[in-house]
């Protein structure tokens, strides 16, 4: 049998049901793994070992008392997870990897972690990220840099880099991340994990340290598509505490996708995405993934879409504007340290946003990009009249060396070029591993229209059922 920390959620649940092992053993295995590799990888900023073991013990008792039926009510009972440090956890430090919130202990719980806890999932600790999620390498963390488990000289991507690295190195069974544009799909791609960005509004933002409120979307990083579907079923749905959360029906995504069929499904391949400056190996692996989808019965359809290069500009302005507004609340009076604690990247973003929202510049920048956002949405709507899904690489290259991110004033926005159109439009996307190039994992992205998570999860599930790319792991000690 696999070592316990290497299990997927569905495998771990099977083991717990069969009493092959206990939740305590599962949690202990994860902490043993963390002790073994996290000195090198540095994925975690806070560990909650005592609390986790206590919860594991009560999960084991619950299972013993109620039997396997308990999973109908608590579908993640006894399953250990890691959580990005921008989800407020009551009584547990929540820093957003920033000096401003270095000692902040929230008096309330985010809806996502509350729903995970109620479903029985067990928090192992909080993971490193770009400070306030400002970046795509996890290097702007005010604390330390997280390393890519596949090569410790490379970045894991970001901003959910700690969560992606923790999953890729099997320090947890799954992890939570959040995406504003690329912050789940990017690190998932660079660390070789599955990463889901649900439609905007599908998952509540309540209690998540805000970056750009009009695109922020919490999403899981997992070892399989089945696991992503299971976690989504738990965290999705209307939340009275987030007025932008969607009242649209959610479903049992895990059981929905088991019967998914690719026959007759049309997958659009947007020329403008593949025309970008893509690394050779990335292009090759994603082209090969297209061939696999075709062999499995889908039809790959070449098509025109607006170039993602426009979305870089739209996203940069709207994100910096919303950042400047959201971070205005951090004044050191009600909570956190004062504004002299902001790092360079945060200052840069706040100031550009302040400029773009100023009287005299508002129409030229903020209003202009929101008009182009309409064009991007119309463009997707037209595309989805012809095809069911879209496919593209998740990132233009494999993970970069540490330090590369400092060379551009818009590093994150340029790296996330392929995910930005879908993020500003609010539609859903998933990154799945599709092979190795230059000894590093490559991710392909599937996108579908608003609230059509079943389609991307279903197609990705069929792909993973007939390929082994998602089973590849880095060679760690």
């Amino acid at each position: 049998m696999k070592e316990l920390h290497k299990l997927t959620i569905t495998e771990a649940i099977e083991g717990l049901k069969n009493a092959d092992f206990s939740s305590v053993e599962l949690v202990e295995a994860c902490f043993k793994r963390i002790e073994q590799v996290d000195d090198d990888i540095k994925a975690f900023v806070t560990l909650t070992k005592d609390l986790a073991l206590e919860k594991a013990k009560s999960a084991d008792e619950g299972l013993k008392k109620k039997g396997v039926k308990v999973f109908e009510e608590r579908p993640l009972l006894g399953i250990p997870y890691a959580c990005k440090d921008n989800f407020s956890t009551k009584g547990i430090k929540t820093t957003a990897s920033s000096n401003v919130l270095k000692e902040y202990i929230p008096p309330f719980e985010s809806t996502v972690t509350r729903r995970l806890n109620e479903a029985g999932a067990i928090l192992l600790g909080k993971t490193n990220m770009d400070a306030f999620a400002h970046g795509s390498s996890t290097e702007t963390s005010d604390f330390f840099k997280t390393k890519n488990p596949w090569d410790l000289n490379k970045v894991p991507g970001g901003s959910s880099g700690g969560s992606a690295a923790a999953v890729a190195s099997d320090m947890c069974i799954f992890a939570m991340g959040s995406e504003t544009a690329g912050s789940v799909r990017g690190p998932a791609s660079w660390c070789g994990t599955t990463g889901l960005k649900p439609s905007y509004g599908r998952v509540s933002r309540y209690g998540v340290v805000a970056m750009a409120s009009s695109t922020d979307s919490p999403g899981p990083l997992t070892k399989s598509v089945d696991d992503a579907a299971l976690v989504l079923s738990v965290i999705a749905g209307k939340d009275p505490l987030d007025a932008t959360s969607s009242p649209e029906r959610t479903s049992n995504y895990l059981s929905e996708i088991q019967k998914f069929n690719l026959k007759g499904l049309k997958i659009g391949k947007p020329k403008s995405y593949f025309d970008l400056d893509l690394e050779y190996g990335v292009r090759q692996r994603v082209e090969e993934a297209c061939d696999v989808f075709e062999k499995l019965g889908a039809e790959i359809v070449g098509m025109e879409l607006l170039s993602p290069k426009y979305s870089i500009a739209v996203y940069t302005i709207l994100q910096r504007s919303e950042v400047s507004s959201n971070l205005a609340r951090l004044d050191g009076i009600r909570y956190g340290n004062d504004r002299s604690n902001f790092g360079f990247e945060a200052k840069k973003r706040i100031m550009l946003g302040t400029y773009a929202l100023s009287s005299g510049y508002y129409d030229a920048y903020y209003a202009k990009v929101q008009k182009v956002r309409t064009l991007v949405i119309d463009d997707f709507n037209k595309a989805f009249e012809k095809v069911d899904l879209l496919i593209a690489p998740s990132m233009p290259c494999v993970a970069l060396d540490l330090g590369e991110s400092e060379k551009s004033s818009m590093f994150g926005e340029l790296m996330d070029v392929l995910t930005e159109p879908s993020s500003i439009a609010g539609i859903c996307g998933i990154s799945i591993p599709v092979g190795i190039a230059d000894n590093m994992p490559v991710g392909a992205m599937l996108m579908a229209n608003m609230h059509e998570e079943e389609k991307i999860l279903g197609a990705a599930k069929v792909f993973q059922s007939s390929t082994d790319f998602h089973l590849e792991r880095p060679n760690l000690k």
Binding site: F108, T244, T316, K347, M351, Y365, R373, S409
Partner: protein, 99 residues
């Protein structure tokens, strides 16, 4: 590229509006912010004269809470847990008016 679209003086002004300290780094911020803002010029390639803005993508409007929802809120003690300074159960803030 994009040099001085946002001058050092404007950097100082923006920093003041944002309540941020940037002394000694004005030149660097001027360059980086100008570089970023100049990228937006690419949008002039697109005609938006007949396009309206999308500020949010959900289409939801006027979402109100029912009276029965969210009755649980923070206690005064909890709300003040992280306060820098408190007095008589209230936050102590900097003065906002000149005396």
């Amino acid at each position: 590229m994009g040099k001085n679209i946002i001058s050092k003086e404007e950097v100082k002004k923006i920093a003041e509006l944002s309540e941020l300290e940037v002394s000694g780094e004005e030149e660097k911020f001027s360059e980086l912010l100008s570089d970023t803002i100049s990228y937006v010029e690419i949008l002039n390639e697109l005609d938006t004269s007949n396009t309206s803005e999308t500020y949010q993508v959900t289409g939801l409007t006027n979402i109100f809470q029912k009276g029965s929802e969210n009755t649980v809120t923070l206690t005064q003690e909890e709300a003040l847990e992280n306060a820098d300074m408190e007095e008589k159960g209230l936050f102590v803030t900097d003065p906002v008016f000149d005396r």
